[in-house]
Symmetry: C2
Subunit: 199 residues, 2 copies
């Protein structure tokens, strides 16, 4: 589930909320799963992975990550990303282009304090995306941290939020015979412009 | 559904087929939906969208598109892409990095000839990704083409296949407490190397 906080009142946000609620009513699984795609100028490679979108706060879309992970390196080199939802229960795709930055540390602290100790133990013990020898070594690291109550209450500085602000939305609805509906909102000259695209 | 033709016998292909079959048994919807992410050097932007993967033929992963679409422009400028599956019925993510090219025209002809006339009418009538004034104009264009039996049998040169050959796979399996399993295969020095990643 995504938590909406003081949601922005512009039209693409209203449409997003509406489509989200429709998918939720149809019991879409993993409704918060968003594919975040990035570009790493050093390797000249596109990368992509699903994350859980946790909040939309006004116009900021927020997820959390290890700040030393591969994706963090991508974001540091190129802060433009895409976000992609697909809710097959309603045959709806939402495409977003955005620029991204780290959230304020207070926000990361607040979110960390709300999480289960199991999730936090993993955030602390995992050196996300680094190579390992065995899955067992990961489990051992996790089990050491979970016993340490003091450690569990302290957000590590290598873990926190990313917030992106969209400048482009495409709402795609699958239709019979692939006569799909594609509605775009583009932020340009300080306002949202809208148009339709060919299927 | 993805059609497998003379599937490559290397290990990541076997693992992929196995995970695909598990998701299929659990009745995963849109099992062929793959998020293709690309980079456009002209606009300096990452882009991402779902397509249907139609075939895996030996080591070639094939989907079809309009060759004048926005994604075609991205591919022309930067032929490295990512492919991303998420099958929530089995909580499995497959991440792929690959380089991409157009399929041979004979293969596109063959696939075009197998499709329904409704799909082909759309492939012919749509100038994919271009702006339009109304959804009705799209429907009118489609309805004109579908009446023209001769036109429907001729693949237009602006529509055809893209084939990508992976050089990187990550198989991600969601586990309790986010102790997720991440197994990587990387094609290096003419063979597949494998290692695990921290969750």
């Amino acid at each position: 589930m995504i938590e909406f906080i003081d949601l922005n009142r512009e039209q693409p946000y209203k449409i997003f909320l509406n489509k989200y609620q429709q998918a939720l009513e149809k019991k879409q699984k993993n409704i918060e799963a968003i594919a975040i795609s990035s570009f790493n100028p050093k390797t000249d490679e596109v990368e992509s992975r699903f994350v859980n979108l946790k909040y939309i706060k006004d116009d900021q879309w927020i997820f959390f990550s290890n700040y030393n992970s591969n994706k963090a390196e991508d974001f540091a080199g190129h802060n433009q990303i895409t976000g992609l939802f697909f809710w097959h229960q309603t045959n709806t795709q939402v495409r977003i282009k955005a620029t991204l930055q780290k959230t304020q540390s207070g926000f990361s602290d607040w979110h960390f304090s709300k999480r289960t100790k199991e999730k936090n133990a993993l955030a602390i013990s995992s050196k996300q995306s680094q190579k390992i020898d065995s899955f067992e070594s990961i489990r051992r690291g996790y089990e050491e941290v979970i016993k340490d109550e003091e450690l569990l209450h302290q957000r590590p500085n290598y873990w926190g939020g990313y917030s992106f602000v969209p400048y482009y939305f495409e709402f795609w609805e699958g239709q019979k015979f692939r006569l799909n509906k594609r509605e775009v909102f583009e932020f340009d000259d300080n306002k949202w412009k809208t148009y339709l695209l060919q299927p």
